[in-house]
């Protein structure tokens, strides 16, 4: 029987099971909005609260997105205004030569395999409409010039893919022209906001922050209750009773961190780390650092909405610093917070002439890079303390942790904070291993959940975006036994544990100051037998441990 069966004839019968992707150009490939890849639409109440336009209830899966009748006109006008206002946008629309250097650098492209996640193509979604509406060649040549009209399908494509970009800027590192695709996403999202098309994971935190001072909508008393709870835990572990100060007028320094550190594991342990460090500095050197229950959010999801919204949320930092009369501001471990501070705050809400150029009163170091913003990153502050031997540390208390470091995108690419966190880790931990060089420092891979995409409903998108980062963690986990992924970003601390659970079980996530506080020897402390998480220290496990 088998001799009679010709393979080709046989194959023609069974080839039907082979799935092959359709071959169409990107403009002719329709957008298939898939569950798991998008975030829910913004709650209209949140949009209304911020007085942002066209608050309405809508569902991305519906054909009708309930847009205002003149939505095309609104977008055209909005696009035109932004081209005139932001020279960078005009340049980015004009100069791309489609060389492809950025194409395979995006974590979402690498993870999803969707060509519209190539940064060049994502930008082309907007650029094609720019050509059609604003360039002579585009108006005359149409598709030949890569131009196309803004239709409902195009709009849906914009919404779907501009909320599949975390504005991490990895692609811009590789662009020979320095085109910043994140800026393009920022502008596209601003345009979408003009017709009420935000996502809820952004809109509601922004409304909360505008109302109560932080994204989670936590009121001042609950914020203080949480820190008091950490104080109790710290006393159990160290035997030392801390007395953090809140809203204290005349304190030396105002400290602001993302609210995620206060209300979400494992950021909570980083938060305990800050408290322990500040207590140490107060007892040893008399430094008074105060927390604010008003400026209780370092993060700024306004950044993912519009420039104006970002400015409104950011303004509370300077307002509170002025009210309290502090010398300067210290900022916690956060990602996009630092992009906003480093590159926008000074021009948006500055100059902060009422503050002093930050100088560490303990080491005398003047933080030149923060001379204008008056806000110092805590990794830099702590690295400086360690460098000047101002902290007494017992590294062995972190011996159970085999650590690697994930450069959070915004501190790394947005402000060049690369060596300070590594220095702190090496001074507080004995076991540290780097991930491969093309996945760290300026080339770091995003966690895949930044820029407001850390929702639950878009889990497939987050896991896909986090694949390149997780893949590098997996490598050091398998080759060096790494079991702890350190980072300096609250979104990372929220997103990476989920990534690890899926991609690299056995790796936990920590902030930098959790490691610092584990190692820091507090005056008057009892002998510690656990770390801040209540887990036994490596030296306590087994009698023979050294």
């Amino acid at each position: 029987m088998s001799d009679e069966l010709k393979p080709d004839a046989f194959l023609s019968k069974i080839n039907g099971c082979h799935h092959q992707s359709p071959i169409t150009g990107w403009m002719d490939t329709p957008t298939d909005i898939r569950k798991g890849m998008y975030c829910y639409a913004a709650n209209p109440k949140s949009v209304e609260y911020l007085s942002l336009p066209h608050a309405h209830s809508w569902n991305p899966m519906d054909d009708d997105w309930k847009l205002p009748d003149n939505w095309k006109e609104i977008l055209h006008k909005g696009f035109k205004e932004r081209l005139e206002r932001f020279r960078s946008l005009k340049i980015f629309m004009d100069i791309c030569v489609r060389c492809g250097a950025c194409a395979d650098k995006c974590h979402f492209f690498i993870g999803t395999g969707d060509p519209k996640n190539m940064p060049v193509l994502r930008a082309e979604l907007l650029r094609s409409v720019y050509r059609n509406d604003f360039t002579t060649a585009g108006k005359i040549l149409g598709r030949l010039n890569g131009a196309r009209e803004l239709t409902m399908d195009v709009l849906k494509e914009w919404w779907y893919y501009f909320f599949q970009c975390t504005e991490c800027r990895r692609c811009s590192v590789f662009c020979p022209y320095g085109i910043d695709t994140a800026e393009i996403t920022i502008m596209a999202r601003e345009l979408l906001n003009l017709i009420g098309l935000n996502i809820d994971w952004i809109a509601t935190p922004v409304a909360n922050c505008f109302r109560t001072g932080n994204h989670l909508g936590i009121q001042p008393h609950a914020f203080k209750d949480m820190l008091d709870f950490f104080v109790e835990d710290i006393e159990d572990i160290t035997g030392v009773a801390l007395e953090p100060s809140f809203n204290k007028k005349g304190a030396d320094i105002l400290f602001i961190t993302p609210s995620g550190d206060v209300f979400a594991d494992p950021g909570t342990y980083t938060c305990m780390g800050y408290l322990i460090l500040f207590h140490y500095l107060k007892v040893k050197y008399g430094l008074e650092v105060t927390w604010s229950t008003y400026a209780s959010e370092g993060g700024n999801f306004g950044f993912f909405t519009s420039h104006e919204t970002m400015k409104r949320l950011n303004s509370k930092m300077y307002a509170e610093a002025k009210r309290l009369g502090v010398k300067w501001i210290l900022g916690g471990e956060c990602g996009h917070m630092w992009r906003v501070i480093h590159q926008y705050m000074d021009t948006m809400n500055g100059p902060a002439d009422f503050l002093e150029v930050p100088v560490s009163p303990i080491t005398g170091t003047r933080f030149e890079n923060a001379a204008s913003t008056k806000m110092v990153h805590i990794a830099e502050f702590t690295a400086d303390l360690i460098k000047h031997n101002k902290l007494e540390l017992d590294k062995s208390r972190n011996d159970g942790k085999i650590v690697t470091f994930h450069d959070s995108c915004n501190p790394a690419r947005g402000m060049g904070l690369l060596d300070e966190p590594r220095y702190v880790i090496k001074e507080t931990c004995n076991k540290f291993y780097e991930m491969p060089s093309n996945t760290i420092r300026e080339q770091t891979f995003c966690c895949g959940s930044g820029s407001g995409l850390n929702a639950g409903e878009n889990m497939e998108l987050r896991l896909a975006g986090g694949l390149p980062r997780s893949n590098a963690v997996k490598y050091v986990h398998e080759t060096h036994g790494v079991n702890m992924l350190a980072c300096v970003c609250a979104i990372d601390r929220a997103a990476l544990p989920t990534l690890m659970e899926y991609w690299v079980p056995g790796v936990e996530v920590t902030g930098l100051h959790e490691l610092v506080a584990n190692a820091l020897i507090l005056p008057g402390e009892k002998e510690r037998d656990t770390d801040l998480r209540g887990e036994p220290l490596a030296s306590m496990e087994g009698d023979d441990a050294e």
């Binding site: 029987m1 088998s2 001799d3 069966l5 393979p7 080709d8 046989f10 194959l11 069974i14 080839n15 099971c17 082979h18 799935h19 092959q20 992707s21 359709p22 071959i23 990107w26 490939t29 298939d32 898939r34 798991g36 395979d104 650098k105 492209f109 690498i110 993870g111 999803t112 395999g113 969707d114 060509p115 190539m118 193509l121 609950a222 209750d225 949480m226 709870f229 209300f263 979400a264 594991d265 909570t268 491969p436 093309n438 639950g456 409903e457 889990m459 497939e460 896991l463 896909a464 694949l467 390149p468 893949n471 590098a472 490598y475 929220a494 544990p497 989920t498 659970e501 899926y502 991609w503």
Partner: protein, 173 residues
């Protein structure tokens, strides 16, 4: 030459064909990148796929299929495909493609389709495909689990520890 020896001899060609078939399940603009970039960190999808199908194929040449070993090689590929834009059949279907490739190859040789070794080989492929569904489902379940429990595990439990959440009083059953 036995059937298995024949497969072993043509291993590189078979794996290359299998790899290409898998990569063609991605959009055309993506396949170039997935095939070309050899760096495991800049192209995890292409490299994970290539490495693990090579190991899977070696297993298909052994007499006794070890479930644990097969699952170990299936997991990395299907863990990726479970979060990508594939239906279950599209995600797992590539495992059966190895039959097509081998049949084509045998067609050009003198080995008979009713060779016992050949039957056993196909049985192993079927078994591998079934295990593939298990892995795919495990990954999907994990995704739903993460969706359902992430907020609870990260935030709710902290608030609970801090006694900031009112507990419903226990009621008699």
């Amino acid at each position: 030459m036995t059937f298995i020896e024949h497969l072993d001899k043509n291993k590189q060609t078979i794996i290359e064909k299998w790899f290409n078939l898998i990569i063609e399940t991605y959009p055309q603009d993506t396949t170039r990148f997935l095939k070309k970039d050899q760096d495991p960190f800049s192209n995890p999808v292409g490299n994970t796929t290539r490495n693990n199908i090579t190991d899977l194929f070696d297993q298909l040449l052994t007499d006794d299929v070890d479930q644990a070993i097969l699952l170990n090689y299936l997991d990395p590929i299907l863990r990726i495909r479970a979060i990508q834009n594939f239906s279950a059949s599209q995600a797992v279907g590539f495992l059966l493609e190895i039959k097509t490739i081998v049949r084509k190859m045998i067609g050009a040789s003198k080995i008979s389709f009713d060779d016992n070794d050949y039957f056993r080989f196909e049985r192993r492929v079927d078994q591998m495909a079934l295990y593939g569904f298990d892995v795919f489902m495990t990954c999907k379940e994990k995704i739903y689990d993460l969706k359902a429990n992430e907020v609870r595990e990260r935030s709710f439990q902290v608030l609970e520890r801090a006694n900031l959440i009112e507990k419903t009083p226990a009621t008699a059953a």
